[in-house]
Symmetry: D2
Subunit: 278 residues, 4 copies
C-alpha cells in the first residue's frame, strides 16, 4: 500500500526551546519511506535519533524565540500483512520474548494492574487468541463513546473505564491495559491514516500474538476509524507517554496543526516509476 502523509505544526516560541518531534514515518522493514521532505528547522543542526523501538525516529531541535513552523511530508509504502488472523494464538507468559515483556507491565496511562479482575471477568471466558483481543476492541466500541473534548493528556485507562468516553488515544490505552491485564503484551502505535474527519494524528494498538508464521505484533483499532491496511506508523511505545508527536522544554504555545494522509496507488506509481520506464 502506498500512502502520502504529512503534517504542519506551528508554534509561538516564547523563549529558546528544545523540541523533540516524533512525526516522521517510522522506518522499518515493513514500511519504506520515500520522497521525504522536512522544512522549517531552525539554523542549528537538528539531532536525529531512535527511541524505544527500532524505527521510531525522533528529531531534536533548539528553536529560538519567535514563530516556528515545521512542514513534513513523505510517501510511504507499507507491507501487506496478508497472513490471516485465524488460528492466531496468545503466547504463554513463559514464551514471551524478553524484549517484549515490558509490554506486559502497567504504564502511565495503562494501569493494567488495577484492571485484572475486570479483564478476567469480561474476557476470561473468550477463547484465547486474536479473536479475544478483537473481543476487547468490540467491548470498547460498544461501551465507550467516541467524543472529543471530554478527556485530556492526563486521562488514563482507569478514567475511561469509569467515564466511558474518549478519543483514539483513550481507546488505544484501554485496549492496551485490558490486553496486558489478560497477559497479552500490547503497545501503543501513533500513526497517520487517511479518512479521519477532521484529519488528525491517530492512535491504535498492537498485541503480540502467534500465528502460523510465528509470533508478531497484530494491529487493532478499537475506534474502527482506520483501515488497518492504510496505516503509516510513526512511533511505538508503552503508551502515549513514549510517543508524543512533540515534546518541548521551554515556554511555547502550539498555534496551529494540520495533518495529511491519503492513500494513492496510482499517484505513487507516477512518482516511483518502475526501473526502465522513466
Amino acid at each position: 500500500m502506498n500512502l502520502s502523509v504529512g503534517c504542519t505544526l506551528e508554534y509561538q516560541v516564547i523563549e529558546p526551546t528544545v523540541f523533540i518531534f516524533n512525526i516522521e514515518a517510522a522506518m522499518t522493514p515493513e514500511q519504506i519511506v520515500r520522497n521525504e521532505t522536512l522544512s522549517g528547522l531552525p539554523g542549528d543542526p537538528a539531532e536525529r535519533f531512535v527511541t524505544t523501538e527500532p524505527g521510531n525516529r525522533c528529531l531534536r531541535i533548539q528553536a529560538p524565540a519567535g514563530n516556528l513552523r515545521i512542514d513534513y511530508d513523505a510517501d510511504v509504502e507499507t507491507a501487506d500483512f496478508t497472513d490471516g488472523i485465524e488460528n492466531v494464538a496468545e503466547i504463554p507468559a513463559g514464551l514471551v520474548p524478553p524484549e517484549v515483556l515490558t509490554y506486559l507491565s502497567p504504564s502511565r496511562y495503562c494501569q493494567s494492574d488495577r484492571l485484572a479482575r475486570f479483564a478476567d471477568q469480561q474476557f476470561g471466558g473468550l477463547a484465547p487468541g486474536h479473536n479475544r483481543v478483537t473481543g476487547i476492541c468490540n467491548w470498547i466500541w460498544d461501551n465507550v463513546e467516541y467524543l472529543r473534548g471530554n478527556t485530556d493528556s492526563q486521562t488514563s485507562a482507569c478514567d475511561t473505564i469509569v467515564e466511558r468516553v474518549g478519543v483514539c488515544r483513550d481507546f488505544a490505552h484501554l485496549g492496551i491495559a485490558l490486553s496486558r491485564a489478560l497477559g497479552i503484551p500490547a503497545r501503543f502505535v501513533s500513526c497517520y491514516t487517511p479518512g479521519l474527519v477532521p484529519a488528525d494524528f491517530h492512535a491504535v494498538f498492537e498485541a503480540y500474538l502467534g500465528g502460523a508464521n510465528g509470533p508478531r505484533w497484530y494491529l487493532f483499532d478499537p475506534t474502527r476509524m482506520a483501515n488497518l491496511d492504510q496505516l503509516v506508523r510513526i512511533g511505538i511505545g508503552r503508551d502515549a507517554a513514549d510517543v508524543s508527536f512533540a515534546t518541548f522544554f521551554g515556554q511555547t504555545t502550539l498555534t496551529g496543526m494540520t495533518v495529511r494522509a491519503a492513500a494513492g496507488s496510482d499517484a505513487s506509481m507516477d512518482k516511483y516509476p518502475a526501473p526502465g520506464t522513466g
Copy 2:
C-alpha cells in the same frame, strides 16, 4: 420481625478523646427499640443527638486515656414492609421531594457525576422502576467480587468500577452511585443483620421509588448477604462518611469489636407479652 442486636467495641485511648458513636438501633415509626442497654460509658455525661436523618441516634462522649469498652444490646421490632415491589416506579426529577434531592447528588464515596455514561449504557435500556435498581444490584453481584482485605475506608464507587472487588460498604456505594447516575435518589444504610459470617456491621442501600401506596425508600442489598426482612437500621446517610459507627478525635486504637444479631420471634413474645396476658 423481632431481632436482638448489639455490639462490643474496645479501644485503647492514648489521650483524652471525643467519640461519636452511631451504633444504636435507629428509632423510627417502622422500628421499635426495646430492652436497650448501653454500658461502659465514662463518667462524664454523654450527649445524645440525631443527625442527617430522623432516627439516626448519635452518642458523643469524652473518654479519658485508658481502656474503653462499650457494650450495646437491644431488642428491636421492625415493621413488615409487605407491599410488593411490582409496579414500583421511579419518581420523575420534577417530583422528587426537596428533602430527598440531596440523595441525587454525588458524595464522597459515590461519584455519580463520573458514572453517568456507564449507568445509562448499562441500565438505560431497562424499564424504569424497582426492577431497574434490582438490575443494578444484579450487575454488581455478577461483576464485583466480594472479598475482604482489598479495599479500605478510602475506597469509592469509582475504584470499585475499576477494580471489581470489595465488601458490603463498597457494594452499597456502587449501588448508590449507579442509581443516582440514573436520576434515582439513593442512600446508604448501616445496619445489624443476622447470619453474616463473620458477624459484623452490614451496609446496604435504599432507593426512593414510588409504589401503589406512594413513594418511599426501598431496601436493596447487592451483596445478597442479608435477609432484607431482618435488618435493623442504625444510620442513614449519603454514604459511609455520614454514618461511621465510630468517629473519634484523639489518639486512639480500636482493639476489639464484636457484633451480635439474631432473629427471634418466640423470644420476643416472651419478653413483650401483650397487655393483660402477663
Copy 3:
C-alpha cells in the same frame, strides 16, 4: 452593605427538562433581599423550596423544548459582621453542635480523610483559631495558581493538591478539605460579589469558629478576589455538589451566562428611603 446582583442564564432545551436553579440571593437574618425580579420562567408553575441550609432558595421548573432565558435581579442588604477576628478560637470536637458535625465529614470534592497528614504537617504547628484558617488560605494563595481552563466540574481537593491550579471553586474546596482535616467544620458558599473580571459566580468558604460573641461561621476567600464585606450569599452546602447554580434533568445546553454584581450604598438609599423622609 447594599448590593445589586443578578444573572442571565440561557439554555437550548432539546427535550422537556426539569431545572433546579439556585441563583437567588439567600434569605437569612443577615441578608435582606429587596426589589427582586425573576423573569423567563415557563408557563408551568415553578416550585420553590429550601435545601441543605436555611436560606438556600431553590426553584424547580419544567421547561419545554426550545430556548430558555432566565433573568434574575435583586437588591440585597447584608449585615455588617464587624466583630473582630482576634481571639476567635476553634471549637473542640466535643462542643461542635450536632447540626454542624456534617461539615467535619469528607464530601465529594473535599476528601479531608485523605489530607489528614498533610494538614497536620503543614498547619498543625499554627495556633488554633481564626488565624489558622487564614494560614490555610495563605498557603493556598501561595501554592495554587489561579488559572481558568485547567479544571472542571470533577476536580476535587486531592486533584488540586497534586496539580496546584484551579479557580475559585477549587480554592474553596481545598480550603474546606484542609480545615476539616484539622477538625474545623467548614462549608462551601456560592455567592455574588462585585469586581470579578470577568464577572462570574464566585465561591468562598466558611469555617465554624468561636469568637467573643459565641460560635458562628466565618468567611474566607483563598482567591483574595472578593471583598468579604461585599458578598451576597446564594447557597451554602458541604461542597459544590450541594449548591450548583443550575441542575437539570434532560438534554440541554447552556448557551449563555452573564452575572452581575455591584456595590452601591447611595443607590440603595434612593431606592429604600427611610420612613417619613419620602
Copy 4:
C-alpha cells in the same frame, strides 16, 4: 565495598506458574558479583535474560504446583563512586542522551506530568544541580511519613503527595516524579542494603546529572535508610513496574520472604584471597 546479600522466597504454587525473578545482583562494570548461589529452581531449565537496562538479570522459570523455595546468595564488590557531588550540574534537555530521554517521561507510579506546577513552585527556586535533587529528597523526608501498612502496590507519586505517608518504594517514586517534573531524568533502583530493620528489599532512585567527569547517574535515598556506599543494585527501571522482584503468571501465594544484606570487607578478603595466596 564488599557486601554479602541474598534472599529466600517461598511460595505455595496452586497451579503450574511462570515466575520471573529479578533478585540477583546486577552485573555491571561497577558491581562485581562473586560466589553466587541460587537453589531451589524446579527441574525445567530456567531462562536467563536482561531487561530494560544492561545488568538487570531476570530469571524465568516454570514451577509446577506445590511448594517453591528459592534461595539466593552472593558476594558483591561495588565500585567506589568517590567523585564529589559539588559542581554537579543538571543536563539541559537538548543534551540528554537519547537513551536517557525515557527517564523524563511519566510512568505508572511517577506521574510527573501532573506534578509540574508543584515541582516548579517548590524546587524551581533552587540552584539547578545535584543539590536540587537533594532538596527534593529533603522535602520528601520532611513531608512524608515513613510508615508501613498505609500503601500498597498501586500507590503512586500522586497518592503520596496527597497522603504524605509510605515506604521506600513510595519515597523513590515521589523523588523520581518530582525530578522528572523539573526536567531531570530519574529512574528507580531496587537493591539490597544492610541495616534495614526489618531486613527487606530496598528502593532508591538515581538522577542523571553532569559532574566534572561527565554525566552519569547519581544515587539518592529520600528515606535516609541506606548508606549509599553499601547498595547492591538489583534492577533499574522507570519505576517499580519495571523491576518487581517477582512477577508470576498463575495462581500462587507468597508464603515467606527473608532478605539478607551485610557489609564486610574482612570477610570478603577471606573469601576472595588474592591470587597466589590461596
